[in-house]
């Protein structure tokens, strides 16, 4: 007889691996591995949570609080997961399916698994503090190593962001910067050093990153981001980090990233103040929704004219790195639709809401159909008087 919950009348559903794969790809489900930790470590399906068989009764409510959630349970061959699924149905879970044949059948079909074997022994040691975090783990670490992040600028913001992303094991870091290291940069641009004054910033950053973590591939773009190259450059990356020092580049990046659907983590700093937000096309507002037009130059002095506390670059740069990692791993709550302000003098954080502008010329519903990819307005003129340097 089919197991049935006394209260809900839920019946255990048995599904083949192909169906499980389709549901996993479509998203919105909880995938539960009910094997022992050493089996899980050896190989598991990406994105699952682990509750060993003996722990299901005690832990499942905490890990899957929503009893109406769609849950697909698997184990090695389907027996332990069937028992766990029955147990959950008795506890009142309403939509539980057992994956028939378990991960053995999954692998038999040639479907991908994640395993700590994907990490070398050196990597397991290097990233051991990440592997201990359930939110990262081996899957997350592999995902970081496979991810590509582009940094716009290897300056105040880009320097700390690049160092921490490299340390975290972001596998490919692209850096766009056409400047050379100057002694006056070193008060905040900690990726460069005194011996590298006069070298291109991209080359200097590469040296620091490669010394820190040989897992990271650095791609240098010793150029300015322009309408002619923006789509090609950003197209190859999963997440873009905007640490540009001028408005024309910020608007250009926004417009191009909306066109290509690329998430942008955007921060800016001046004096003792910093701002940061995360713009994910389709999920929240864009930079133009927040700032429809740039301010006149007298209201937007540069760090070179106005000064900036070196530490500010570090604080905001690391907030950027934190946003990047959340986006790459799909965890937590990125700053989508939120603008976070940091005032260093008072040590105060303030959060403001950023709404999608229904009249936004770039991401709004009335935004013109994008036909001519690569055609952009004259940003220098749009930003009246701001130059891109």
């Amino acid at each position: 007889m089919e197991p049935k919950s006394a209260e809900t009348g839920t019946v255990l559903e048995e599904i083949p691996v192909e169906r499980a794969r389709d549901e996993i790809e479509a998203g919105g489900i909880v995938l539960l591995d009910t094997r022992e930790p050493h089996e899980h470590s050896a190989a598991h399906i990406d994105g699952c949570i682990l509750i060993p068989p003996a722990m299901v009764a005690d832990n499942v409510e905490q890990q899957i609080p929503d009893r109406s959630a769609r849950v697909i349970v698997y184990c090695a061959a389907g027996t332990r997961s069937e028992a766990a699924a029955r147990q959950m149905i008795e506890m009142g879970y309403e939509d539980v399916a057992n994956m028939v044949g378990g991960i053995a059948e999954w692998q038999q079909q040639g479907l991908p698994v994640v395993s700590e074997a994907s990490l070398t022994p050196e990597q397991r040691n290097r990233y051991s503090r990440h592997l201990l975090l359930p939110e990262v783990g081996a899957d997350g670490q592999v995902r970081m190593l496979e991810s590509k992040v582009l940094l716009l600028g290897a300056g105040g913001l880009g320097a700390p962001t690049a160092l921490y992303l490299a340390a975290a094991g972001i596998g490919t870091i692209g850096i766009v910067d056409d400047d050379v290291v100057d002694a006056s940069n070193l008060q905040r641009q900690v990726i460069h050093d005194t011996t590298r004054i006069g070298e291109p910033k991209t080359a200097s950053a590469r040296q620091a990153i490669e010394a820190l973590n040989p897992d990271v591939e650095v791609v240098e773009y010793g150029t300015r981001l322009e309408a002619e190259n923006v789509l090609e450059i950003i197209g190859a990356y999963d997440v873009i980090v905007d640490g540009a020092d001028n408005f024309p580049t910020r608007y250009l990046l926004n417009d191009a990233s909306v066109r290509l659907g690329k998430p942008v983590v955007s921060a800016s700093i001046l004096g003792f103040d910093g701002q940061i937000s995360t713009f994910v096309p389709g999920e929240g507002p864009c930079y133009r929704c927040l700032y429809p037009t740039p301010p006149p130059p007298e209201l937007a002095p540069s760090c070179s004219a106005n000064g900036v506390l070196g530490v500010m670059a570090g604080v905001m740069g690391l907030l950027q790195a934190n946003e990047v990692i959340k986006l790459v791993l799909g965890i937590g709550e990125p700053l989508i639709g939120r603008l976070l302000l940091y005032e260093a003098l008072t040590t105060r954080f303030t959060e403001l809401r950023v709404r999608q502008d229904p009249d936004c010329p770039v991401c709004g519903p009335e935004a013109p159909e994008i036909e001519d990819l690569g055609k952009f307005p004259d940003y220098e003129a749009f930003c009246g008087g701001h130059t891109g340097s």
Binding site: A244, R250, S268
Partner: protein
């Protein structure tokens, strides 16, 4: 009295004050009180048509007044009005 937070770029026009307390029932009235006290802030905040400049973001507490009722948005005594400019420093 509403609290008005002044961004660094405008502080040269407010005697270096970063926060001022001002009377006013609406966002517009509070900002008018600001520019009458500190006239040099006017050209930064308002255009010749007396509309808020497009490049100036004004928040009532955590919400952009553009999605509220603009300058006509009601302000209570314990509210904070924040003037926020875009910054491009990196």
């Amino acid at each position: 009295m509403a609290k008005v937070k002044i961004p660094p770029v405008l502080r040269q026009h407010t005697g270096n004050e970063s926060e001022v307390e001002l009377e006013g029932d609406t966002v517009g009235a509070v900002l008018e009180a600001l520019v009458s006290q500190h006239p040099d802030t006017r050209p930064q905040l308002f255009g010749e048509d007396d509309e808020l400049n497009r490049f100036v973001n004004v928040y009532l507490n955590d919400e952009d007044v553009r999605v509220l009722e603009g300058l006509g948005t009601t302000v209570s005594a314990d509210d904070t009005v924040m003037i926020l400019p875009a910054m491009a420093g990196g």
